[in-house]
Amino acid sequence: MGSLKEYIIMRALLVIPTVFILLTLVFFILRILPGDPIVAMLGQKVPPEVLEKLRAELGLNKPIWEQYIDYLSHVIRGDLGRSMIWGRRPVIEEIMDRFPATLELTIFSFAISVFLGITTGSIAAFRRGSKIDTGMRLYSIIAYTLFIPWFGMLLQMLFGVYLDLLPIGGRIDPGLEPPHITGLYVLDSILTMHWRSLESALAHLILPSLTLGIVLSGAYTRLVRNNLIEVLNQDFIRAYRARGVRNRKIAFHAMKNAFIPIITLMGLQFAILLAGAVLTETTFSWPGIGTFLLERIQYRDYTSVQGVIVFYALFVAMISLIVDVIYALLDPRVRY
């Protein structure tokens, strides 16, 4: 048995082919699909000279394999090109400006969805076959089929407009931004002890993260329920009972066992979380990567759009690496 460190290095090396495939996919989707991306973005009426100039600048006039090599070598060096509008900043900088907002939203939504999913899923599993179980399963299906913008707007209407309790858009009240350390407003306000900023940041986070968290919790309810039922039917649970271990403790052991497979599925769930975040950000005017992507699509900023997609691909690969490492740490059966 090797060390955990070796395992992590091995697993990290395995990310390389995944990232490579994702990058290749992004390239092909953006360049090979029927139609010219420049024309698609700029419309048919662009003068040919402008078109040619843009193509040359983006390297689109080179042979396709050369474009591909260029693209890969740039991405590997962390160079996503420069944006085509507004000061032509490097795309990676623009993304990193927006990323903390998305990260903050996804962390809170993730926490809410896991909490709700575990609660409802385990209630359903421990009372399987009962009316409560059916109720929890209905909750799971309904939560899953809620359309994020719609559900978000209903919450905005209730808590923002009628009850006037919470803000319905933005990350924080203007002027209250805490000093920049991590870019996560909640964390930064705590670190710098700006309590009014913290209050404002949390108030702005509640509705968007509830929206995304509740919608995603449906999938977790189902995962937790099914896995827990499977574990509860296993021999060792009966063996615990036969030894007179208290039900509370048996439930703890059962949940511990049920979570191991759920952790692997969390990697895939995270992709759904990111997709949902795009709609949530739009609904709540949340200045994250999702709104950035849509804004740049509108302004036909081709390099930024490509950069964001590449960034998402890398992010997804990173998450799956982290998930695998957590799995290895938790499950003694995994051999490094």
């Binding site: 021999d235 063996a239 036969a242 030894r243 271990v245 208290r246 052991h253 511990k256 066992n257 191991i260």
Partner: protein, 315 residues
Amino acid sequence: MLLEIEDLKVYYRSKKGTVKAVDGVSLRIDRGEMVGIVGESGCGKSTLAYSIIRLVQGEVRGKILFDGVNLLELSEEKMRRIRGKEIGMVFQDPMTSLDPLEKIGDQIVETITEHENVDEETAMRRVRELLLKVGLPEDRVESYPHQLSGGQRQRVMIALAIALNPKLLIADEPTTALDVIVQERIMDILEGIKREGKSVILITHDLALASERCDRIAVMYAGWLVEMGKTSEIVKDPLHPYTKGLMDSIPDLWMKKEVKPMPGNPPDLTDPPKGCRFHPRCPLADDVCRREEPPTVNLGDRIVRCWRWANASEG
């Protein structure tokens, strides 16, 4: 007398109807004896064992007197305190009966601390003693179940079952999943436990194994107890045709007798045969057997449920 089961019935519902898994079984077990409950699979012997510690789903009727207390009338919390503490249980499949995520030592410690008010250190000392007793090196406390072989895991299961010095140990096919040499070792450990004055119930489909190790044997068929008696007497002279059939189907290395496998299978317990439940497979069945249920006949320290002996004892 440690355990006295009276007219025990265990019924549960399935899609096809009510399964009469155990149907009117009475038996007694003394302190310090090993009793084998033998029968083909699907005869209700496991259900009988699990109903003693009330781990069956379904309706249980009758009486289970353990140390004079009727277990069927206890509250769930009182019953929990008996499981593990007074009655230990060893399962058929050691590969799936241990929690894969907990260290061996921690699993045994938890069992001890759930029943006794001892600190972790004392508990851990007892765990090491227990492991030595079942023939495992004490450093195994740090192992996870997947790091052990099947035989080693079954030793751990036994250590778990005897961790609190129970008066009764129920072993459900404890050697079925293991290879022959390991089987012998596990049986040696169980016999050692018996010699310390504890009672052991050995559930097995293997009459040869039971006749080697047990003081008494109870034979079950289709939810009935069909024969019970001292091992030596049952082996020498099986009274019930089913017991005889089981004896004849054991291959014997030394006696070179003819092996006769029993034809047919145990009946579907949602719809058992009328009359004697064994009559469709019985070479001696006659009209009475097909029509009416045989009574249980007491022949001194033997019990048999068969019309042949009912008639003989009357006559």
